[in-house]
């Protein structure tokens, strides 16, 4: 039963952090190149433009959800299982979600990168 809770929490982390990353990424594409905006509009305008973006706020909410799911997962299982499992699954989930929702061209190169990094994270924590 504990296993079910742990993997449920890991699934929640992966889902929430992927949602957060996709939303924040979409928000920042709407905001535009921050480096150029900083030169043209100044810091306060840029910050306002970012934090008034609904996608950004939803993304933050999703990231907070991921953080609290992580805390729950950590109370049920060891960090050496939870951290690498959720981090590496998030890399793979992000590659899929970025392709579907952000229309990024996830080619062989990016798939290879996502899988290599995911495998590397597992080994690093093992």
């Amino acid at each position: 039963m504990r296993h079910v809770y742990t993997w449920g929490a890991i699934a929640a982390i992966v889902l929430a952090s992927t949602t957060g990353d996709v939303l924040v990424s979409r928000a920042m594409k709407q905001v535009g190149d921050v480096g150029r905006l900083l030169r043209e509009a100044g810091l306060l305008r840029v910050i306002w433009r970012v934090v008034s973006n609904p996608d950004f706020l939803l993304g933050l909410l999703a990231m907070a959800t991921a953080f609290f799911s992580l805390l729950f997962a950590l109370s049920w299982a060891d960090v050496s299982l939870v951290a690498p499992a959720s981090a590496s699954l998030t890399f793979v989930a992000n590659a899929i979600a970025a392709r579907i929702f952000l229309h990024e061209r996830v080619d062989h190169r990016r798939w290879t990168a996502a899988l290599l990094v995911a495998a590397g994270v597992v080994l690093l924590a093992g």
């Binding site: 990353d21 996709v22 924040v24 990424s25 920042m28 594409k29 709407q30 905001v31 535009g32 190149d33 921050v34 480096g35 150029r36 905006l37 970012v50 950004f56 890399f91 992000n94 590659a95 970025a98 392709r99 952000l102 229309h103 990024e104 061209r105 996830v106 080619d107 190169r109 990016r110 290879t112 990168a113 996502a114 899988l115 290599l116 990094v117 495998a119 590397g120 994270v121 597992v122 080994l123 690093l124 924590a125 093992g126």
Partner: protein, 143 residues
Amino acid sequence: MSFRKWLVLAGVAVFGSVGDCLLSRGMKEVGPLSLAHLSGLFSAIFDPFIVLGILFLLGFFASYTMALSWADLTYVLPASSLGYVLLALMARFLLHEQISLLRWLGILLISAGVGFVTRGPALTHPPQSEECVPEPEASGVRS
């Protein structure tokens, strides 16, 4: 890809890993928290390592959102995972932890993945920003 953009990507990796390192060091000083004694959280907030760690993680979030404003998510994430490598190297050389053969292999895999993705374009889907003039080639147009 301009030097400034490389600097932002490096910032994502460095701020993230150093921030985690500082938080971990700080929480070891504070000791385990319990829900019954939430006052422990306050002493955690005033621990210098925690304060510094939070500042670094704010820096991480700033450079992360900045990078996402001109690069794909599937580009920024692998690139920022170099932070894991930095974290392992810091653990080895600053905290004098032992790194097993498997961990060195993990470092190798992550570095290879980062090498793969950074040789491609940073942006594959031009953003449709209402106010900005769209930039057809995001990499290396301006310096």
